[in-house]
Symmetry: C2
Subunit: 424 residues, 2 copies
């Protein structure tokens, strides 16, 4: 089956999926959970094939390929959370009585057909497909080829379970090759949205090669700014977590900014802590007057290391920190450490990023941690969904207008007047 | 001043604009209204130059170029409505206590810098700029060259008024040439959103030549479906208004679909009415068995006539009507005429368009008629804003997370648990 045909089938199914009731969709999710449990061994066996083939790869990558009982348990928790969330479809977002007998409703509805290209991480397939089902969307899924056996096994288990539950055939499709992805980018008649996950270069490639709207982020250059009113121990702990808790992810911090009045005391403490995790520090000149560090270049401020490396810059003011972040950041996640509420609020309002934090780690930017059950990705888009994208980010709305024969000529020619009474 | 520099200035101003208070913004809008009244004659004089230059153009186009007292009054009404609307910025859209002392807020904020390219219609400049001011956005404006003198006069009056009110310099910029627009399409670092208004070909050109998100619609192929349970007089009146009230606009109907059981009675009535306005009818074979009509070809179902022309097709069922609309429509505005509530609801839920109507004219798809005060355009996008785009469509949100030193390691390693308490 070629990609265009698969997309066509998904498009056809999308009209039906948009009207599925909450009970049917939750039942489908329960069946997926049951089937994943029942067929766990089959999936683990498929995963073993992928892991055997990945023998030569670096350990951190191999770790992401694993699908074991603990990963499965995490997914089952996510599915349970999704089932407990209210149906995002058909919510009345606005209601205005335009005139007597002329009622306007803005009602949420699914986006339609979503093409998701994700990295080799089997749990992503489960998260994405269950989010699509709950939101009434159809999807074309293409996972990293390093987990192709696991993806196939998971897809079979899930699509079997949803067919039994009454989700229309064609609602979920698996793509298996890179050529399929290329083909998908041209299908702007049947695909409504593309969500690419992966490297900066890959996401940029997708954006440049399709006229279909793209949701996601290319890179995550996240900052922690230690203000002059920062608590030193909190600064050390939050910077360390933001940098080292999981270095290869988009919400890990890449640059530390520190106020000049705080630098001489706090910077050595932070440096000590980071060196316990063998973090290499690239510092500006003023940083290097205080601690040992490699010299930072302009390129360092633009770098997403995804590694045990951090760039450090001493700034003269909160304003300079904000300016640095808005210039070099990627609009993903940025945090300020301060005990001053005004500085905090100024930072939150002025930094133009999807996630802006006070006194906590950048690593909190995540759909599960936000209570969304799961996420299809994190978006730095400035239109539509921004930040971790869960159910809400997979919805759009339509305006329904209920009339009783009204024509515009009556209003244009003054025989009728609009009332515009807000009903909620 | 080149376009890149103008965009850069707007970007810089956008951080300030995002934090302007409601009072300051409403005051700026009042000052615009006052200045438009005070300088009305200057603007009318500029408009006269444009009208003189447009001597040779067709009457309907010339009509759109006019900016007179009645157009000004309409704009002043719109500004008054905008002032009365609540500030769309800083609204708390969601609030979750992730854990004690760790509060997540989803807060609305402006998109940033918006490039708007609009047709030669002077009132559009006023609508767009005032919507941007109220929503805290900055904008680059390029209007049709047929009204360049009027645009310039309006821009001078408006930018003078907002400077007095404290809106930062650079927040509003006027582009004057086609080359400026071309240059704008490449400025993805400083422009967050492009809103093109104009012909299908123009909008397609913009979509294909920029990686900046585009909001809008390429064409408006709107349908009226007359169901078998339709009231005949209502059908005649609504079809006539949808087609003839203003033929050259995107929400005018282009295709009439009619149920086979209603056709023999209602079709002749509709045809009589439409012929009073000299509408040419292109009908399918079954249509031509009932009324005189030119033969319709496949191309007619795909045509946005924007003229006194309509295509007519007899269908066997509601399902066939829905299928036709989802295949040939442009996702803009489609209406059903029926007295059967189930058929109505099925139509509303199954037709994948921004505006779906029961028993009223497609011409109601408009920001002013919806009570939005004004609109920057109508969007058929399936992500972000859809339908008439007013203040809400010019907003996005950011996630603010207020912590007290929380790090992810504590949650990842089981020392802390999320509470995810929804606060509203």
């Amino acid at each position: 089956m070629d990609t265009a045909y698969k997309a066509e089938c998904a498009k056809k199914a999308s009209t039906v999926c948009a009207q599925l009731g909450e009970e049917l969709k939750n039942n489908a999710l329960s069946r997926i959970a049951d089937a994943l449990k029942a067929d766990a061994q089959k999936i683990f066996d498929a995963n073993k094939k992928d892991l055997d083939a990945a023998e030569g790869l670096p350990a951190p990558i191999k770790k992401r390929l694993v699908f074991n009982q603990s990963k499965l348990d995490g997914c089952l928790d996510g599915i349970a959370q999704l089932i407990s969330l209210p149906d995002p479809n058909g919510r009345v977002l606005m209601q205005t009585l335009l005139d007597d007998g002329l009622l306007l409703k803005k009602v949420s509805c699914p986006i339609g057909v979503i093409g998701v290209v994700f990295e080799a991480r089997p749990d992503a397939l489960i998260q994405i497909s269950t989010l699509c089902i709950k939101s009434g969307n159809c999807c074309l899924l293409k996972g990293g080829s390093e987990t192709k056996h696991t993806n196939k096994a998971l897809f079979e288990v899930i699509s079997g379970a949803i067919a039994d539950a009454g989700i229309p055939e064609g609602a979920m499709q698996l793509l298996e090759s890179r050529d399929d992805v290329k083909e998908m980018l041209a299908l702007n008649k049947s695909i409504d949205l593309i969500i690419p996950r992966g490297s900066n270069a890959f996401v940029q490639y997708i954006i440049k090669n399709t006229s279909i709207p793209v949701l996601g982020h290319a890179d995550g250059i996240c900052h922690v700014y230690v203000d002059k009113y920062a608590d030193p121990d909190m600064a050390v702990s939050v910077v360390n977590d933001s940098k080292t808790q999981y270095v290869s992810v988009c919400n890990a911090a890449e640059t530390l900014l520190i106020h000049k009045d705080a630098a001489s005391k706090i910077l050595p403490m932070i440096a000590d802590k980071l060196r316990q995790s063998s973090v290499t520090i690239y510092g500006c000149e003023r940083t290097r007057e205080i601690i040992d560090a490699e010299p930072a270049t302009e390129q360092d401020w633009k770098s997403e290391y995804l590694d045990y490396k951090i760039s450090v810059r001493v700034v003269d003011s909160l304003d300079e920190a904000i300016e640095h972040i808005n210039k070099y950041g990627s609009g993903h996640t940025d945090a300020i450490i301060t005990s001053d509420a005004d500085s905090a609020e100024k930072f939150l309002n002025s930094v133009d990023s999807a996630n802006v934090y006070v006194n906590c780690s950048t690593r909190f930017a995540d759909g599960f941690r936000y209570g969304f059950g799961a996420e299809v990705g994190i978006s730095t888009n400035k239109i539509h969904a921004r930040g971790p994208v869960g159910l809400d980010g997979l919805m759009i709305y339509k305006y329904k207008l209920y009339g009783s024969g009204q024509i515009v000529a009556d209003y244009a020619e003054g025989r009728s007047q609009f009332k515009h009474t807000k009903l909620d």
